[in-house]
């Protein structure tokens, strides 16, 4: 093939070399520094602060500033060196932060035991603390991997060849095909390396040099821990702990793998890398099943289709429908709702040309938005995209008038926001469902039954309250989940039939 693809091997291999070198150096630097910081607590604010500041410098600027800096030191200011240095600095923060977090997360009783058994500081670190912190450290390395692959495209302007050559070249020459090739290759590379890192890490974790092997067979299959996953927000962390606690009641060991990306979690489940996590019917519906329309369909109907699709296509079982939705919804301040008489989304239509709507980065690109626009004829004065964590600040400060919120978010209550009713069902239902992977569903009926008892046990108020425990009261997700499980044990499980989420919508 001629044209842009002819250069792919050259750019791709340069990109891979640059990325891997930067990552290797970043990890080699960040992990020891993370260990040091976890030992000398007074260093923590300084070191993490510094790494955080580096992170705030725009990536392009960081790479660009290396050019004069290196030149003034008499080093080659153009080429691979400035790109490499910039990328190393950028990859530090996630690895550093996760190393520190992972080490702090080790149970103090375990550390006391390690000391009392006569481990040296080094043995304690290598045999106990780092292995226990490993999943968290790996999550940091995976974040750094994805970032670095993306940022390495910016090394083209400082003179290092990369997939960025396609993108910058394509921009200059108005050649969209070339830009697309660069983007697609970078994205594919990011995914590939991310998988590679996680595969290597789970290989390391499985290869335990100790005495594990010879005892296998003694206790049968009960030994492999059930792996519970979570996406990257508070609600998910709490739910993962609830799933973990529920599985633990069956007497099986549990391992939690949190902070998986949205579709990463699903892929991991389908491939058996995790055994269970919570997802939302609407997300599965739009992003995985590729459906756009849900108008007129009830929660039950969408749920039933999702359930069928999961089982047929992936062998994944919906173990429980928790009883709440985490849907995209439109929210306004309560005073605005009162003054403007807003109750339903349709009430916005005449006022929208005077109002500003804010949402997260992806919503305006998703099918849900097109469907809302069509159903209600909404034309806002301005539409703004921002980080989801800023949406609530923005509406609290009256900088925007309407935001898209997540219906189970505790901040809806905290900020007294009013959720506008989607009476024309433009947005699909987002029932939270406990998904169980094919292997576990087949082999562990007891786990399936235990998780099934969560059916209908978490309504939206309960979910908001649990998230608030973590976000506002700074308790750990595990502690919030423990309270829930304690309370749940006191109440006899409801009939599965009675728990079915209700009304037609």
């Amino acid at each position: 093939m001629t044209g842009p693809l002819a250069l792919l091997p050259e750019y791709l291999s340069a990109h891979v070399r640059l990325t891997l070198a930067a990552l290797a150096a970043g990890v080699a630097l960040a992990v020891p520094v993370g260990v040091l910081v976890s030992r000398v607590r007074s260093l923590e604010p300084v070191v993490l602060g510094l790494a955080g500041v580096i992170q705030t410098v725009p990536a392009l600027a960081l790479l660009a500033v290396m050019v004069p800096l290196l030149s003034s030191l008499g080093l080659p200011g153009i080429g691979v060196l400035p790109a490499l240095l910039g990328l190393v600095l950028y990859s530090l923060l996630p690895v550093l932060r996760n190393t520190v977090t992972g080490l702090h997360g080790v149970d103090p009783a375990v550390i006391e035991a390690a000391r009392a058994l006569g481990m040296t500081g080094r043995q304690q670190l290598l045999q106990v603390e780092l292995p226990l912190a490993l999943p968290v450290v790996v999550a940091g390395i995976r974040t750094a991997t994805v970032w670095t692959v993306g940022l390495a495209t910016l090394s083209t302007p400082v003179g290092a060849p990369s997939l960025g050559n396609y993108i910058f070249g394509g921009l200059q020459t108005r050649d969209p095909a070339s830009v697309l090739v660069g983007c697609a290759a970078a994205a594919a590379l990011a995914l590939g390396l991310d998988l590679l890192v996680s595969a290597v890490a789970s290989g390391v974790a499985r290869h335990r040099p100790a005495l594990a092997a010879w005892t296998a067979g003694g206790a049968g299959t009960g030994a492999r821990p059930v792996r519970v996953g979570a996406k990257t927000f508070t609600e998910q962390y709490v739910l993962a702990e609830i799933l973990a606690g529920t599985v633990r009641q069956t007497g099986r060991p549990v391992e939690a793998l949190t902070s998986l990306g949205s579709t990463v979690a699903f892929d991991a489940l389908a491939r058996g890398q995790i055994d269970a996590y919570v997802d939302y019917t609407g997300t599965l519906w739009t992003t995985l099943m590729g459906r756009t329309e849900a108008a007129g369909m009830s929660r039950q109907e969408v749920l039933a289709e999702v359930r069928r699709w999961l089982l047929r296509r992936h062998g994944i079982v919906v173990a429980a429908v928790l009883g709440f939705e985490n849907a995209y919804c439109f929210a306004v301040r309560d005073d605005a709702a009162r003054d403007l008489g807003l109750r339903r989304l349709g009430d916005l239509a005449p006022l929208a040309p005077r109002l500003t709507l804010a949402s997260d980065y992806e919503f305006f690109l998703r099918g849900e938005w097109r469907s809302v626009e069509r159903a209600y004829g909404l034309v806002f004065r301005e539409r703004r995209s921002m980080d989801p964590s800023l949406l609530y600040d923005a509406i609290a400060a009256r900088q925007v008038d309407v935001v898209t919120a997540y219906s189970s978010d505790a901040r809806i209550d905290a900020l007294k926001l009013v959720v506008l009713e989607d009476d024309r069902h433009a947005i699909p239902p987002y029932d939270a469902v406990v998904l169980v992977g094919p292997r576990l569903a087949r082999e562990a009926k007891d786990v399936l039954a235990a998780l099934g008892r969560l059916e209908g046990r978490i309504d939206v108020q309960r979910m908001r309250a649990l998230s608030r425990e973590v976000d506002a009261r700074h308790r750990s997700p595990a502690a919030a989940a423990a309270d829930f499980l304690q309370a749940a044990r006191a109440v006899p499980p409801r009939d599965a039939g009675a728990a079915a989420p209700a009304p037609a919508r």
């Binding site: 009783a109 006391e112 058994l117 292995p131 030994a223």
Partner: protein, 253 residues
């Protein structure tokens, strides 16, 4: 086996432990009792130097504990505590084998020793491949005891090892432990705030208050010749509770 002389530890200017001295012979169990903050745990942790003493001497099996590197000292002393502290990433067998690995035992010998230890603490060999999270609280502490005994220490330190267990499990573990420590002739220091437990398990009891060892002696001696009113009341608590329980249960019949 364990000799402690003038042991002192200060936090700031207040002494947490103030001039404590005692001796525990082979096969003997000394229980330290006292209120929270009386210094009993700090005293215990100074014996294996999880806490470093500010003054005083510790002699374990004839060797000056303060002249050894702490990790070598600890390898010769069993330690069991309320938090158990099993390593969650290791199977039961690997947990028990940790002290053996630290001593460089070959794998096959360690394997046999682990099975022997599981038997000693009355655990099914089938549990060897399980992970700690899959065990009950009582089973976990049995593994904790097996791990502490792995390297055949002659000295044991126990810090409220059964406090977090339900009464029936606690009772069973107390009996197992009592049998074990006699069978192995361990010199043991046992910290507890449960006087009944101390009376049931200990050869001698040391009563601590505000960092000082107020009285030390056989349970019967403490009960018959208490050093002061508080010691008398303390030693009388199990009896008072037993009387109350008997009355209540009797009244129902």
């Amino acid at each position: 086996m364990i000799r402690v002389e003038g042991l002192t530890r200060r936090y700031g200017s207040t002494p947490a432990v103030d001039g404590v001295s005692f001796h525990v012979g082979a096969g003997e169990l000394l229980a330290l009792v006292g209120a929270s903050g009386s210094g009993k745990t700090t005293t215990l942790k100074m014996i294996n130097r999880l806490v470093e003493p500010d003054a005083g001497r510790v002699v374990v099996e004839g060797r000056d504990a303060l002249s050894l590197p702490p990790h070598l000292l600890r390898r010769g002393i069993g330690y069991v505590f309320q938090g158990v502290g099993l390593f969650p990433h290791l199977s039961v067998a690997d947990n028990v084998a940790v002290p053996l690995a630290l001593l460089g035992w070959p794998r096959e010998r360690a394997r046999r020793r682990v099975l022997e230890l599981l038997d000693l603490v009355e655990l099914e060999p089938a549990l060897a491949a399980r992970y700690p999270a899959a065990l009950s609280g009582g089973q976990q502490q049995r593994v904790g005891v097996a791990r502490a005994l792995a390297a055949s220490p002659r000295v044991m330190l126990l810090d409220e090892p059964f406090a977090a267990l339900d009464p029936l499990t606690r009772d069973r573990l107390q009996q197992s432990f009592d049998r074990l420590r006699r069978q192995l002739a361990l010199a043991a220091v046992f910290v507890t705030h449960d006087v009944a437990e101390a009376v049931a398990l200990a050869d001698r009891i040391g009563v601590m208050r505000a960092g000082r060892l107020v009285q030390i002696g056989r349970p019967r001696e403490l009960a018959s010749r208490p050093a002061d009113d508080e010691v008398a009341r303390l030693l009388d608590t199990p009896r008072r509770q037993a009387r109350l329980v008997a009355e209540r249960l009797g009244a129902d019949r």
